[in-house]
């Protein structure tokens, strides 16, 4: 006779785990956004005022 499989919770992560994951994901998103700003501003600074004087 086959015994039914033990019932296991559907959710492998607790709500606390998911909340932590969400905070980590948000921190990574902010970090990546800041990296974009870092490269953008540095590009403007390195180009200097010459950026406005180029020939079109």
């Amino acid at each position: 006779m086959n015994t039914p499989a033990p019932k296991v919770p559907v959710q492998p992560f607790s709500p606390e785990d998911l909340a932590r994951r969400k905070r980590r994901a948000a921190a990574m998103a902010i970090g990546l956004g800041l990296l974009v700003v870092l490269f953008f501003v540095t590009t403007l600074i390195k180009l200097g005022s010459g950026i406005m004087e180029r020939t079109m």
Binding site: T3, V8, P9, P12, R20, R21, T42, I45
Partner: protein
């Protein structure tokens, strides 16, 4: 044939799943207190360097140095999790506590290390990026993986890793390695042994339990006290080096010499202590004073060079 459940809960798993660490745990991996010292010494290196660096590029250099230092801390915690679990001071770190898996710490550390070196190289200059890469390599491979578990001189040679940040910042500002940046390097390099051996004296049991060959549990407490005194005495001529290289002036000269003489007095007291209780008490005092000493000496350099900053010149 028995049915296999499609979903599993964390209760049914025999191996940890990972992904449990909070932001605070990841922040702890970066060793924020060590990072604050690295950032401060980096700022001093940047300000003390001759010439002018754009404030934005200076900010990027310090940011990359801070992230590189944090990456070193994370990689150190990945490799040293076994030692950390045994020592009282480090047992609550995220990896031995089980909040972050060793593999997660390794991935986090590597990503930050590679990222910080790449950004510094792309946005500032290649020399500073190469120095930062070498600093991370030195701390993780030479100190953590090799020297720390092998020789009681671990702190002396490994101290170089903590001494590189002002040199990295100096290279970011000037694109070169000069006598001035080497003087700053030596200042922190010679400060490290008495600082850590003072800690090792009153934490001797911890290091012995973890099997880390620190000087007190390998060469004995009298030898450690002697070595503390020798390195503290060596700190006096080393403190004068920024004066000889023209990196520092009179404000630094007066303050740093007085602070270093007081350092020597603290080291003498530890050397003369006859009982274990007195040794521990005075070693704790020396450890605390050594932190104050480094911040004070670097602050003196910072104050002196702040007079040359364009903002200050505009105000006077």
């Amino acid at each position: 044939m028995t049915a296999v459940p499609h979903e599993v809960s964390s209760d049914t798993l025999t191996t940890p799943m990972g992904g449990q660490g909070s932001l605070e745990d990841y922040l702890a991996l970066l060793k924020p207190r060590v990072m604050s010292l690295v950032v401060f010494s980096g700022v001093v290196g940047l300000v003390a360097a001759p010439g002018h660096v754009h404030p934005w590029l200076g900010f990027i250099a310090i940011l990359c140095i801070a992230i590189g230092a944090g990456a070193s801390g994370a990689l150190n915690m990945w490799y040293d999790a076994d030692i950390d679990a045994v020592m009282k001071r480090t047992a609550s770190r995220p990896v031995p506590r089980g909040a972050i898996l060793p593999g997660e710490a390794l991935g986090f550390g590597l990503a930050l290390a590679i990222g910080s070196v790449l950004v510094l190289g792309l946005l500032v200059n290649l020399l500073s990026a190469a120095l930062l890469a070498f600093t991370i390599f030195f701390y993780v491979v030479i100190y953590t993986m090799w020297l720390k578990r092998w020789t009681p001189q671990n702190i002396v040679i490994g101290g170089a890793a903590g001494a590189f940040p002002p040199m990295v910042a100096w290279a970011a500002a000037t694109g070169s390695i000069d006598a001035g940046s080497i003087a700053l390097f030596l200042l922190i390099f010679f400060w490290t042994p008495p600082h850590f051996w003072a800690l090792a004296l009153f934490r001797e049991g911890d290091y012995a339990k973890a099997g880390v060959p620190m000087l007190p549990n390998v060469a004995g407490r009298p030898e450690t006290k002697k070595q503390i005194l020798i390195y503290s005495a060596l700190l006096l001529p080393v403190t004068a080096l920024p004066l000889l290289t023209g990196t520092a002036g009179m404000i630094y000269a007066v303050g740093a010499v007085a602070m270093t003489l007081n350092f020597l007095v603290h080291a003498c007291r530890v050397f003369k202590a006859s009982t274990r209780e007195a040794e521990d008490k005075l070693a704790k005092k020396l450890f605390g004073y050594s932190i104050v000493w480094l911040f004070a000496v670097l602050t003196l350099l910072l104050v002196e060079h702040s007079f040359n900053l364009p903002l200050f010149k505009a105000l006077i």
